[in-house]
């Protein structure tokens, strides 16, 4: 006697986003903390030393936040106009920031008043940074110049006037104290060497450059401007490597994940995209509420901080390993572990008499009804509220099974107004789903055949039948359109295929019979 084989529930591929290792990684962040700033957040910079505070530049202030605080641990408010580009020195002690009033200010992180003021630019300074020897400051300004300053004397060392438009971004080399890179609205990215007093490499980005980023190895440079993100090979003299165009508005900010495997780009189109740095494919995407101006990634990817035009700072912290484990553990826990495992590891002794108990197999409710050939009840069970809405594939599988058994007509017949309208509701809801259409069309035809004689007796059912008719009409129109498109595509493909001629030659004939 073979056991009853349960109804096979078709497993359909999940629609929508595919789950990859990357999505799992980048989804493993808590709900964002949102902080309202005084104006658009233009710059976010993480301190290189623990506890990795970060400086947020917004309007006329720079706030320094601790890794978990929602209130700023420190504020610098002595700006006369909009502040730009607050950056930490590599020891985390000093902070430099430019300003709309063309003065560059240097702060001690623990102090309040500016230690030095660097005056010399004639227009707003959007770029400030420390060189890797910690004694000099790089600045770039809207007066088309970039300058190097000596910190102890607060004097200007060199001025470079090669750019022909605003300088809005730049970065200093972490390995060499003389190298720095600037990006400008004149579409170029220039690599300067302080020893030769002019640019060494010039790269044409093609759009006003909004952000530049150096890889930790400093062999590759990433520049963002317009809708493009471009990667350049510095060791080959600034040869373009890849051009990415995944945003549909200007890319404003770039960041690199801590292991250098993923590149993040933020844009005014409210998206942050994550690229794989080996093949430069987008592996993940974040959505935000407003256009993004600045993006910061904490060391070890512990948090993602995003500043937006609507002056909101969004901080996402990474979930702890223990937290995620705890949740998984809760899911796995069964009613009672001890009860469950009791006697499982008991080894029978040699002269024990073994009584084998037949394993009772679990069958779903509809399968139990099917086993007893109660077809109507099986369909009723499968049309239960939970299954009908949450797992329509089960209902469809039962209908299919009944059809296979040749008893679908019996199961559908003999229903009252309520039962019939429930059934019709289900069919209307799922008929156009391509996965269910073949089964449900059969069922719908049978319903029409069975209840043909009573049409017009119930207004509820009549309304639903009209809806069904309407639905089918619309679906047929869609299919027609799709077929037309398919025909067009076929013609295009067919015309693009080359033709071949095949040779043919003489033959020998054998006779075996």
């Amino acid at each position: 006697m073979a056991s009853f084989k349960p109804t096979k529930i078709q497993v359909y591929p999940k629609l929508g986003e595919k789950v990859t290792q990357d999505t799992l990684y980048w989804k493993n962040y808590k709900a964002p903390v949102q902080i309202k700033e005084f104006g658009a957040v233009t710059s976010i910079d993480f301190s290189p030393v623990t506890p990795h505070n970060f400086a947020v530049t917004a309007f006329t202030r720079i706030h320094i936040y601790g890794p978990f605080s929602q209130e700023p641990v420190k504020s610098f408010t002595r700006f006369k106009d909009t502040a730009y580009c607050g950056r930490f020195r590599s020891d985390g002690q000093l902070l430099v920031a430019g300003c709309e009033d063309s003065v560059v200010r240097l702060f001690d992180v623990s102090g309040k008043v500016a230690l030095r003021l660097f005056k010399g630019h004639t227009k707003a300074v959007h770029l400030t940074d420390f060189t890797s020897d910690r004694y000099q400051i790089l600045t770039g300004s809207d007066d088309y110049t970039c300058r190097l300053w000596d910190i102890p004397n607060a004097t200007e060392l060199t001025t470079y006037t090669e750019h022909t438009d605003y300088i809005r971004c730049g970065v200093t080399s972490k390995l060499n104290r003389d190298l720095f890179i600037t990006g400008s609205y004149d579409h170029t990215v220039k690599l300067f060497d302080a020893r030769v007093e002019k640019s060494v490499i010039t790269m044409d980005h093609g759009q006003p450059v909004e952000s530049v980023l150096l890889y930790p190895s400093e062999g590759l440079l990433v520049s963002a401007g317009g809708r493009h993100v471009k990667v350049w090979d510095l060791l080959k003299g600034g040869q373009p490597l890849v051009s990415l165009k995944n945003h549909h508005k200007t890319v404003t900010s770039l960041a690199l994940s801590s292991n250098g495997q993923r590149l993040l780009s933020a844009s005014l189109d409210r998206h942050v995209k994550v690229y794989n740095t080996t093949n430069y494919k987008v592996v993940h995407n974040f959505d935000y509420a407003a256009s993004i101006l600045s993006l910061g990634l904490a060391p070890d990817d512990a948090s993602i901080v995003v500043g937006m035009t609507n002056s909101i700072l969004s901080i996402k912290h990474r979930k702890n390993q223990e937290d995620s484990k705890e949740i998984a553990g809760q899911q796995r826990r069964r009613p009672s572990y001890r009860v469950f495992v009791k006697g499982k590891n008991y080894v029978p002794k040699q002269d024990d008499y073994l009584v084998s108990k037949p394993v009772k197999e679990h069958l779903a409710k509809y399968d139990k009804q099917l086993q007893r050939f109660n077809v109507s009840k099986a369909l009723d069970t499968a049309l239960g509220t939970y299954i009908r809405f949450r797992k329509p594939e089960i209902t469809v599988a039962v209908i299919k099974e009944l059809d296979r058994r040749g008893t679908l007509k019996n199961a559908l017949a003999g229903r009252d107004e309520r039962g019939l309208s429930q059934l019709l509701n289900f069919i209307i809801g799922n008929l156009v789903d391509a996965r269910f259409t073949p089964v449900l069309v059969t069922a719908a035809e049978m319903i029409l055949d069975i209840y043909q004689s009573v049409i017009g007796q119930s207004p509820v059912v009549d309304r639903q039948l009209l809806r069904l008719q309407d639905l089918v009409k619309r679906e047929i129109e869609f299919q027609k359109d799709l077929l037309e498109v398919l025909g067009m595509l076929d013609t295009m493909f067919a015309s693009s295929l080359p033709r071949k001629e095949v040779p043919c030659s003489g033959i020998a004939t054998l006779d075996w019979v």
Binding site: K18, E401, T442, V502, I507
Partner: protein
């Protein structure tokens, strides 16, 4: 047949075991059932076939225990004989020649030495009569029954249509006659008699069972109706005590009705195929049901299925014949929705693989999923199956399933299900052949005009557990329907047939390399050459066998014949072509590179052959004859139109098989009693002695007698035996006779030699060459007194010698 005398076409295994109802022996240890031309004895506990009772030359139509001796069994056959067997040893005891084909037969306790047979009427072959046969009482092995008396005429030849009641007091017979009652027409299908009461149960086509009583008094019978079955009741059976009635039908549910309390029923559902016969063991402990899918189920007291004896299912074979590369089993579809793995060497069904995995509904006229195509990859680690269900006025449902071989469970595990892989029926499917390649590739062609390549792909998402199969490539050729496809032996080329055109593709780049065609006629079968002939591509059309050379892309040769099936031997260059000609099928075995076929066999069977396969042998044959060399490495199996599985054997192979089977039968299935250890060994020695010494042929006929006495000794319970000393002397004496016989013979021979030495040399030579056949002839004619024969023979010889010399003298003068 004539030109190659040593290669024969033989039936190969898998005969029906559900043809007639099986018999369970009194001790419930053995089950006997008619199977083709033999009776098979199965063990009820281990499901193994213990031995086959062979001897009939026609289909065996019935098996019945001998009422007077429960260790013997009668079997009847269409060859017109009844045979009596000892089933524990597998020995033929007696043959009774009736002279008419026997369709079924019955025996009862009350009628000693009378067998009732159903035979066709002499006047009209389509009508049958029940005839009582009085078995002649004589010790001879072969007897002819003379006393025949007709009992009933116009009976149904179906054995279920006649039953004997109350130990043979009355006979109940049902007929095809339709019987009108309650406004409906009812046809009787089977009948059973209560063993104690006057009650007859009949089964009907409308699913009702009727119990008839009071039929002794004319016209006053009464009946009651039992109804559970929804279609034909095909078998009915009372338990030996008469307490229960068992019934079964198409539903595959065994129903047990309490006698006199018919409202109480027990069910045993889902037994497999439709039930065709039900039998109960004489002590009532075991039930046994035969099923339409060539299966016998043994059930312990209506609760538990204890054993299943499954034969080869040969209903509607839609898949091609295939070999499982791992188990070397023949694979074909059998039970609905299953693939069966059948071991050809052991003639045993290994297992059924459930492909469809759906509850089978036993109802006639219902469209079910059927396995229509299957393919193995070269290493046997992947199996692809196609199942389809075609319902009227609905879309075709099609599933392509891919099964991975699991080392742990040693069976195939479902890996991927692709629902609706094509829009229409799949016409062919094949795996890429090479074993060493990293990626496995499957190509399927369909009537929707496309062929698709499927490839094992690494999991794209982290949620998936393992690799699964994905569609890699889809292509079509001018909207034509692809009929078949084939990979070359190294997997570098794929050939797909689109009606008249053979397209050759490169699987690595999916580029169309070339097209070959030879109109007129669509190419129906395609095969790449192997090994040294790998440059050839063979195709068949309705009228021609074509061979293309792939290096020149031109037709190499062609021969006009209607080839229905072309198979390539995986181990050699050989190919077999079955071609259909005027009602029968001819076989040609050839190498594509050679112009003449290696072997040809006219009229292999009648009808068309569309399924065939080469099965590699376990051990190579060393035949040096040119015509049979192609059978050395592999064996060719094919299915005829009548769904018989046939194969080709050589004479040498048959001899070897025969020898091995003899060995098995002599040393098998004796219970190891002290008596056996003592006597069995002796008997074996004796047999070996006989086999080795052909001059002692005369002793063979004396053997059954001694073995019978031995059996008597072995089978009689120990407590009723006389004292051992008495028996011993008797035994030794009986054994001594033969030994002394042999010794005296030898002595005689020595004397003879001595006497003959005195004669002239020339005559002595003549004598020695003649003496042996004479001896044998003498022994054959007068077998019961061998010693006397010897003496007589010598006497005769002497007389003749004298005669001869006298004649010589006369001639001289």
């Amino acid at each position: 047949m004539v030109e190659h005398g040593d290669i024969r076409v033989v039936h190969c295994g898998g005969s029906k075991i559900n043809f007639r109802d099986p018999v369970i022996t009194h001790d419930s240890r053995f089950l006997l059932c008619a199977s083709g031309e033999a009776v098979k004895v199965f063990s009820t506990s281990t499901e193994e076939c213990i031995h086959e009772l062979r001897g009939h030359t026609g289909l065996v139509t019935g098996v019945l225990l001998r009422p007077s001796n429960h260790l013997q069994v009668y079997s009847s056959s269409l060859d017109g004989t009844l045979r009596l067997w000892d089933f524990t040893d597998g020995i033929l005891i007696k043959t009774c020649v009736i002279g008419y084909p026997i369709y079924s037969f019955y025996a009862s306790d009350k009628h000693e030495n009378v067998i009732f047979i159903v035979a066709s009427m002499p006047s009209d072959k389509r009508r049958f009569q029940l005839v009582a046969v009085h078995l002649p009482q004589s010790g001879d092995q072969m007897v002819e029954a003379q006393e025949l008396s007709a009992v009933l005429s116009g009976v149904n030849p179906n054995p279920a249509a006649i039953a004997f009641g109350r130990g043979g007091e009355f006979i109940a017979s049902v007929n095809d006659l339709q019987w009108s009652l309650e406004g409906g027409w009812n046809t009787f299908t089977c009948v059973a008699c209560h063993p104690k009461d006057d009650c007859i149960a009949t089964g009907h086509e409308d699913g009702k069972i009727r119990l008839w009583r009071n039929f002794n008094h004319k016209k006053e019978y009464t009946y009651s109706t039992l109804h559970w079955h929804h279609s034909t009741v095909s078998s009915l059976c009372f338990t030996p005590e008469g307490t229960n009635l068992l019934s079964g039908g198409v539903e595959s549910v065994l129903v047990q009705w309490r006698y006199n309390q018919e409202s109480e029923r027990d069910f045993l559902p889902r037994l497999g195929g439709a039930i065709t016969h039900i039998t109960v063991s004489p002590d009532g402990s075991l039930f046994c049901t035969s099923h339409s899918d060539n299966k016998i189920t043994i059930i312990q007291s209506c609760v538990k299925v204890s054993a299943v004896i499954q034969g080869l299912v040969k209903g509607d074979i839609r898949t091609d014949l295939m070999m499982d590369p791992r188990s070397k089993a023949l694979v074909l579809n059998g039970k609905p929705g299953h693939l069966q793995f059948y071991s050809l060497q052991r003639d045993k069904l290994l297992y059924n693989l459930d492909i469809v995995q759906q509850e089978y509904i036993h109802e006639s006229g219902l469209q079910q999923f059927e396995v229509v195509k299957a393919a193995f990859d070269a290493s046997g680690s992947w199996l692809a199956t196609v199942e389809e269900r075609h319902q009227k006025a609905a879309e075709l449902e099609l599933n392509l399933k891919l099964w991975a071989f699991d080392e742990q469970t040693q069976s195939f595990v479902l890996n991927t299900t692709i629902s609706a892989p094509h829009d229409a029926q799949i016409t062919a499917m094949c795996f890429c052949q090479p074993t060493d390649s990293q990626t496995t590739l499957l190509v399927s062609t369909s009537k929707d005009g496309h062929f698709k390549a499927w490839q094992l792909a690494a999991p794209a998402h982290t949620e998936d557990e393992g690799p699964s199969w994905l569609c890699d490539f889809v292509s079509a050729y001018h909207g034509l329907v692809p009929e078949c496809c084939s990979f070359s032996a190294d997997g570098s080329l794929l050939a797909v047939v689109f009606q008249e055109v053979v397209t050759v593709w490169s699987p690595s780049t999916w580029e169309l390399l070339t097209t070959l065609s030879q109109p007129p006629g669509a190419v129906s079968d395609l095969c790449f050459g192997r090994l040294s002939c790998s440059k050839y591509l063979l195709g068949t059309t309705a009228s021609n066998l074509l061979c293309w050379n792939l290096l020149t892309c031109s037709l190499e040769w062609t021969t006009s014949m209607d080839v229905r099936r072309l198979v390539a031997d995986p181990l050699s260059e050989n190919m077999a072509a079955f071609c259909y000609q005027s009602g029968s099928t001819d076989l040609f075995v050839f190498k594509p590179s050679e112009p003449r076929p290696l072997f040809s066999h006219k009229a292999v069977c009648s009808g068309k052959v569309t399924q065939a396969v080469f099965a590699p042998r376990e051990e190579m044959l060393e035949s040096c004859e040119e015509s049979s060399q192609w059978l050395n490495r592999s064996q060719l199996y094919f299915l005829t139109q009548q769904m018989d599985l046939m194969t080709f054997t050589t004479k040498a192979e048959e001899d070897r098989l025969l020898a091995s089977s003899k060995q098995v039968s002599s040393s098998h299935w004796f219970s190891m009693t002290p008596f056996y250890l003592l006597l069995g060994k002796h008997r074996q020695q004796q047999q070996e002695h006989q086999d080795s010494d052909s001059s002692l042929w005369a002793e063979r006929t004396a053997l059954p007698q001694t073995s019978a006495s031995m059996k008597e000794l072995l089978q009689t319970p120990a407590h009723v035996l006389p004292s051992t000393s008495y028996l011993c002397s008797m035994f030794v004496q009986s054994l001594l006779i033969s030994v002394s016989d042999a010794r005296s013979e030898k002595a005689h021979a020595e004397e003879e030699m001595e006497s003959e030495k005195e004669e002239e040399d020339s005559e002595e030579e003549m004598e020695s060459s003649r003496s042996k056949p004479e001896l044998a002839a003498a022994a054959a004619t007068e077998s019961d007194t061998p010693a006397l024969t010897k003496a007589q023979a010598r006497e005769l010889r002497r007389v003749r010698k004298l005669d001869h010399s006298w004649l010589a003298g006369l001639l001289d003068s």
